[in-house]
Amino acid sequence: MKTTTQEDVLAKEGMARRSFLKFAGAGAIAAGVVATASSCQKHGGVVSDPTAIDLGTGDLAVLNYAYALEQLEAAFYTQVVSSPYANITTEERSFLTDIRDHEVAHREFFKAALSGNAIGALTPNFSKINFGDRTSVLSYAKAFEDLGVSAYNGAGYLIQNADYLVLAGKIVSVEARHAALIRLLLGIAIEEDTIVNVSGSGLELSQTPQKVLDQANQFISGKPLIAPNLM
């Protein structure tokens, strides 16, 4: 867990934070969170309790929710690329490197945008994944991408700021592109009822933050993420 104090973060990333707040028009919300955080035990800029990392309220909670998921994805692909599975092809390595870079870009974007209001760095737990095995890696890649798409789609309506909504939209379609490619690499149907209601409306099956976090928490060591106010 990141232990940088609020003051350090603000000093170091003051410029980024100012431009973020200007962009967000969320100064009042941010100030409220910071004020509360400075009087409590804190992780990043979000109030924490002893047993869980609470993502907080409002747009900052949605952004931290996205930041948490992007941290997991980025960490996963970083490990995939640094210790490739057996018999990986040149093309597969290239695709997975691209995806790693996209996820790192997403993670760093949220970190910079949230600045002092960001949750700390999560400690991923990928012990279930056999990084030496192609099927294991690609199956988890598919799971992470599908989870990401369903998470962004399910949280869109919680976003108050229109610019954030568009930003979430800019990212979610890239996650969907990743998901499609991973499915092709696995040689499975491009869409099926587990992710898209193929036999019904033809719509993606979005998930609530609560459901998504239940799944994401399986890949995090230490305190689980909670978002009681995101509903």
Binding site: Y157, L165, V166, K170, V174, R177, A180, V196, S201, S206
Partner: protein, 294 residues
């Protein structure tokens, strides 16, 4: 589809439409006389200029405006799937199941949008056909003109690579169109969530088609969008096709998001790929207009 009908539909859905344009009734009148005096090819320009005047970035649109707008794009896309699947020898047997699956899902999107709109479907949308060989669309991108010299995609139904490129352009336009409309749906949780749940499916389709094109034709494209122009579209020639395809990817090369320099974290190409950009209403209409038979 008749453009004048579309304007009338918008007027019905948005009674203040005429107040947004200046001079009031004269604008519609001008369009009419414009249409009769100049070549049909000039119409889309005047049309899109009118839209630009009426709907700036700050303009709001009703939920039904957005749904009707999405429906027009979905019907156009579905007609392309249906027409392609109906052409003997166009789609190789090994690709038919996947293209059919995509078509089936797009059919459900059209059904879903029509169900949501109910009686609020615009008259011009109600009149559109998505059947194979629909008379409403010109998938050569030639606005219904019979002058083959001006068609960006004259071989859309005889050359599988061109067919996939146009299909891909429709799906990527769809992704960008839904993204651009999302803010107008803010405050309506059910419709916004539904739109997002269609948006991501369009992205899955686009990525699949981009991968298929890379495998089939050796197009130097990835499932995600790198840069803009021919780099993004994978269509470098002939010139008309390249220009038409490039319009779909205008603005995709940006590397700064909300004031954050993404290229400071990863390579320029990865920074471009990591974020898909929206299109405005009039940008989408300008693209779609090329495929609409007046």
């Amino acid at each position: 589809m008749n453009l004048l009908n579309l304007i009338e539909d918008i007027h019905t859905a948005d009674p203040e439409f005429q107040d947004r344009i200046s001079p009031r009734r004269a604008a519609i009148k001008n369009i009419t006389s414009f249409g009769t005096k100049v070549a049909a090819a000039a119409l889309p320009f005047a049309f899109s200029t009118l839209f630009k005047k009426a709907y700036g970035q700050s303009a709001t649109r009703s939920v039904n405006d957005v749904l009707n707008f999405a429906l027009t794009a979905e019907i156009a896309e579905l007609g392309l799937y249906n027409t392609g699947l109906g052409r003997t020898g166009l789609i190789p047997n090994q690709d038919r199941p996947a293209i059919t699956l995509l078509r089936d899902v797009e059919t459900k999107h059209v059904t879903f949008l029509k169900l949501q709109l109910g009686n609020n479907i615009s008259p011009s949308n109600a009149a559109l056909s998505f059947a194979a060989n629909t008379p409403n669309f010109d998938y050569t991108g030639n606005k219904g003109s019979s002058n083959a010299a001006t068609a960006p995609f004259p071989t859309v139904f005889t050359d599988y690579n061109v067919y996939l490129a146009v299909l891909n352009a429709f799906e990527d336009t769809g992704v960008r169109a839904y993204k651009g409309q999302a803010p107008f749906l803010k405050g309506n949780a059910a419709v916004l969530t539904a739109a997002l749940n269609i948006h991501s499916v369009e992205a899955r389709h686009a990525a699949f088609l981009r991968r298929l094109r890379a495998i089939r034709s050796g197009a130097a494209i990835k499932p995600w969008i790198t840069g803009d122009g021919a780099t993004a579209s994978g269509v470098a020639a002939p010139a008309l096709a390249a220009t038409a395809a490039a319009a779909v990817y205008a603005g995709e090369a940006v590397t700064t998001q909300a004031g954050v320099n993404i290229a400071g974290f990863v390579s320029t190409s990865a920074a471009q790929e990591a974020f898909d950009e929206p299109l405005t209403t009039d940008q989408v209409l300008a693209i779609l207009t090329n495929f609409i038979r007046p």
